[in-house]
């Protein structure tokens, strides 16, 4: 329980320290906060592993009067992934700020925003109350939008504004759904909603909330804000935006469809969600193929990679939830969430290093970077293996589990999406890889310390290790896993 509270309060305290302390002490305070929060997240995971889900009712008030927090395997695992990415980003940002002439705003704003984002992400992972989740989502959105705009360049401001408009529309839709739910049931607690009496407005409420969350998750066709927002931000911020931010709204979607209202999961709705995901996989992949800049390729790949996760709805949702393959499909989707987070953050951090070393992320300027900065080349290659879903990476485990479920349930079309998406990913990642590993290098790049190069490599290795050592994470994710068959009917 202490670990749960620490994971929420430590980053907040550190965020305040990063604003209030004198200039010199801010970065050390932020880094200290990051280290402590990482420790708290790991500790929470250990506690969950040993004793099962950790539950906390705020102020001692039980729902429906109070608000419950609950860290299950899913929430704790996402918390650990977030902590690893955040720590890596913090370390990389320190290097990047030392190496580049960042504007005063970037130096001032980055640390508190990053830590605020961290605190709110952690809150999203453990919160059990739909309105509480709304507040958390708003805070995540606001810090994310600010991170996009932090450089102050015109294109960044434009991208941030577009993001803000989409996100606000999403928030309104979600809030409308929450209001309907509260009007019908008088509670917003996820566990209590699972045991509610069905009301006629439920379908509309779930639809509104889902639509809002889809916009925030940037699922096709709501993805248009994402690539430019993610690539306009400074590289460490891009890593946070692409690897972590969509995962919060995604998690709420999973909680709604698998825990709060699994009874409403009509086949048509599940099919729609997965079809949108499939289109995201194909369309995002095709657009990634057409980009000339590394950061845009990586950003469009996020659209595609998030699409896979939506295949979980027909494979493990609704009636399928009671089937033997449901656990595999559900866990596969979470594996995809985790391994994509690690690999995508690694890729953006590599892009950040190239931006500092070469002043550009155009593929034509990156030729031969692996020779000059070998560790970054390896990092990008390993992260690519994860995104292509090749063994023995975490991405492979995810795809294997999803594909097995697709075959077991007779829904072959989704397996086809997985296979095609993997080939598309190989195609769009081959171009940057070929450039990075080309022989020539036009200009000698700026020297980059090895300690900086090692950061993305570490994340990329973790994304592969998730596949090599997937049995423990697999079991971990089963802790407190919702069982719609038992709760739904």
């Amino acid at each position: 329980m202490t670990a749960l509270v620490a994971g929420l309060t430590l980053p907040l305290l550190a965020a305040f320290a990063a604003i209030a302390l004198p200039m010199r002490a801010r970065v050390p305070a932020a880094l200290l906060g990051a280290g402590l929060t990482l420790a708290a997240s790991l500790w929470l995971a250990v506690v969950v592993w040993q004793t099962g889900p950790v539950t906390l009712s705020l102020g001692g008030w039980q729902p429906p009067i109070g608000i419950a927090l609950r860290a299950d395997g899913l929430g704790a695992a996402l918390g650990v992934m977030t902590a690893l990415v955040m720590t890596a980003v913090a370390l990389a940002a320190r290097h990047e700020m030392a190496a580049s002439v960042a504007g005063p705003r970037a130096g001032f704003g980055f640390w508190p925003l990053m830590l605020l984002l961290w605190a709110t992400m952690n809150a999203a992972f453990v919160s059990r109350d739909l309105f509480n989740l709304y507040v958390v989502l708003e805070l995540i959105t606001l810090s994310a939008v600010a991170l996009v705009a932090i450089s102050g360049k015109a294109e960044a401001i434009a991208a941030a504004l577009r993001y803000l408009l989409f996100a606000l529309a999403g928030s309104l839709l979600y809030l409308a759904g929450v209001v309907l739910t509260y009007a019908a049931h008088g509670t917003l607690d996820i566990s209590l909603l699972a045991a509610r009496m069905a009301a006629p407005s439920d379908a509309l409420a779930l639809g509104l909330m889902t639509a809002g969350l889809l916009v925030k998750t940037a699922l096709f066709p709501f993805h248009v804000w994402l690539p430019h927002a993610h690539s306009a931000a400074p590289a460490p911020a891009s890593a946070l935006l692409s690897a972590l931010v969509p995962k919060a709204s995604l998690l709420i979607l999973l909680r709604l469809w698998f825990e709060a209202m699994p009874d409403l999961a009509a086949p048509a709705a599940l099919l729609t969600l997965a079809s949108l995901g499939a289109m995201a996989v194909i369309w995002g992949g095709l657009l990634a193929l057409a980009q000339a800049r590394l950061k845009l390729i990586v950003a469009y790949s996020t659209v595609a990679q998030l699409g896979y996760i939506f295949l979980v709805f027909p494979l493990a949702g609704g009636d399928g939830g009671a089937q033997v393959w449901a656990a595999g499909a559900w866990t596969g989707a979470i594996f995809q969430t985790l391994s994509h987070g690690l690999a995508k953050a690694a890729m953006f951090l590599v892009a950040g290093i190239y931006l500092v070393a070469m002043g550009s992320d155009r593929l034509s300027d990156l030729r031969g970077m692996a020779r000059a900065l070998p560790m970054t080349g390896f990092a990008f290659a390993l992260a690519s293996i994860t995104l292509m879903g090749l063994p023995p990476s975490g991405g492979f485990t995810a795809k294997y589990l999803l594909m097995t479920a697709a075959f077991a349930s007779g829904q072959w079309a989704w397996a086809l999406v997985l296979a095609a998406g993997g080939l598309l990913a190989a195609a769009y990642l081959y171009r940057p890889l070929a450039a990075i590993f080309a022989r020539e290098s036009a200009v000698a790049p700026r020297a980059i310390p090895r300690s900086w190069q090692a950061i993305p490599l570490g994340l990329a290795v973790l994304s592969v290790a998730l596949g090599l050592l997937s049995s423990v994470p697999f079991e971990f994710l089963q802790i407190g896993r919702p069982d719609p068959a038992a709760e739904g009917l």
Partner: protein, 487 residues
């Protein structure tokens, strides 16, 4: 010990790979010691295991990743056949590669991936279940890509791209086939044939076709062979390894596993997929030979010859009669020995005489007697001259074809023999009988390059002469077939 041994076997290449990546470019002694040490240790382990397995010992190690996703390493007779080949040839290729590269650039990267590639091949050989086979199959693709691209010039990068473009759709087909099959049968272990009754024959035929496409890309089955001649842009040791042990053989080994341990000879006949596979293999044998005839570069001709020769193994598997199986399995070893000899020699001709094209070989026999003699033995073996290795394979394949009631295969074998003669004998004629072109010179005073070639050439003679002894590849192949798959 029974669980530790397969892991140890994998580690003899995996650990050197891991360490080599981090070595400085100029720490030649340490790098070479690591590579050779790993290779020798592995050979020793395998020899020890050969005796133990002949006595009936079984080795197994299991690593569960997720439900259904289990890496299972298991030593059986077929695994040992493949692994002894790869370990022996890896050792020789390592010596050759050290001499070949000398102090060229990026050697730590090269030898790192080189070892990783061998680790993948080892894992592939030891895989006891379909999904572990797939994992190592992919690891092999990934680890050979940097080897093909090693020179980083335009042709190499193009070759690497083409390789990927063929290999990845192939893997997708393989994974598709595996998951489709396992969705009906549960995880497939090679020790116990899966119960295929849950799938209708049409689905089983489709699965079989997907399997063959998946492994056939690596085995170079026409029309999936396009990457193989392109990959000739790679350095000579890589070509040698690719053609004799690693990639192409992994594909052929995969065909054998799929045919015998997944479907089983009986099911294959019942489904009527054996004959089509035999036809594809026969077509590949002829087509590869015809294309080889048209090549002017030594390595290109050898590459198409590989396309042709590897399909002997596929043919043996497809015919599914015991004698044909023996012929196919033994060719797995024999083709490896002969082809690696030829590639070693091609590399020596290039390095020591600057000869890449066939017309540059005129009169080299006197200049480079050792190399030319080894090349000649390899070529004659390929043609199938008794008592060399190739003859033994062809003899058994021919007998097997009669046994399987497919006498047309004899015509294929005969045609292939003539075509082999047609594209190899002119080279031998140039080597030994034509006068040296003015200004051309060469020597084979490079023991690091020549000795491995001499060893494999001697082995080509040896395995043919001693074919009747129980420790020969033929003896081992017979043991596998009579024990494991016999009627």
């Amino acid at each position: 010990m029974t669980t530790a041994l397969p892991v140890l076997l994998l580690m003899t290449s995996l650990l050197p790979a891991g360490v080599t990546f981090f070595l400085a470019q100029d720490s030649h002694a340490l790098r070479n010691a690591l590579q050779l040490g790993g290779a020798v240790l592995k050979l020793a382990l395998i020899i020890w295991m050969l005796f133990a397995v002949a006595d009936g010992a079984a080795y197994e190690a299991e690593f569960p990743l997720a439900p259904g996703l289990v890496v299972l390493l298991r030593v059986d007779a077929l695994a040992l056949l493949f692994i002894s080949l790869s370990a022996t040839l890896w050792f020789l290729t390592t010596i050759y590669a050290i001499a070949y590269f000398g102090t060229k650039a990026e050697l730590s990267r090269f030898f790192g991936f080189f070892s990783l590639c061998v680790a993948a091949t080892t894992g592939l050989a030891l895989s006891g279940s379909l999904i572990s086979f797939f994992i190592f199959f992919e690891l092999l693709t990934l680890s050979t890509w940097p080897l093909v691209a090693h020179k980083q010039d335009k042709p190499s990068l193009r070759a690497a791209r083409v390789y990927f473009a063929y290999a990845l759709p192939g893997s997708a087909a393989l994974l598709w086939a595996i998951i489709w099959l396992e969705s009906a049968t549960g995880p497939v272990l090679f020790t116990e044939p899966p119960d295929l009754s849950g799938l209708d024959p049409a689905a089983l035929r489709a699965i079989f076709a997907l399997f063959i496409i998946g492994v056939g890309v690596k085995a170079g089955l026409v029309p999936l062979h396009g990457w193989l001649p392109a990959a000739m842009a790679a350095p000579a040791p890589v070509s040698a390894l690719l053609h004799a042990v690693a990639v192409v053989k992994a594909g052929a080994f995969g065909v054998v596993r799929v045919v015998y341990d997944v479907f089983g000879a009986e099911n294959m006949t019942a489904l009527g997929v054996g004959v089509p596979l035999a036809i594809v293999a026969s077509f590949t044998i002829i087509w590869g030979s015809v294309r080889a005839l048209q090549q002017d570069e030594i390595k290109k001709r050898l590459a198409f010859s590989t396309v042709s020769q590897v399909s002997y193994i596929v043919l043996g598997a497809a015919l599914a009669s015991p004698l044909a199986m023996i012929g196919g399995l033994v060719h797995l070893i024999h083709q490896g020995l002969m082809k690696i000899t030829l590639f070693f020699c091609a590399g020596i001709f290039d390095e020591r005489a600057g000869v890449k094209r066939i017309d540059g070989l005129n009169g080299m026999g006197a200049q480079m007697p050792w190399t030319s003699a080894c090349f000649s033995i390899g070529a004659l073996g390929m043609i199938g001259l008794p008592p060399l290795a190739g003859f033994v394979s062809k003899f058994y394949l021919g007998l097997g074809a009669l046994e399987a009631g497919a006498p047309w295969v004899l015509a294929v074998l005969l045609a292939s023999t003539f075509l082999n003669a047609a594209y190899f004998l002119p080279i031998l004629y140039r080597l030994w009988f034509l006068p040296l072109a003015s200004g051309a010179k060469g020597d084979d005073r490079a023991p690091g390059l020549v000795v491995p070639a001499v060893v494999t050439a001697a082995a080509t003679v040896g395995v043919g002469m001693l074919a009747a002894s129980p420790i020969s590849p033929l003896g081992w192949a017979t043991l596998i077939v009579t024990q494991g798959y016999g009627p």
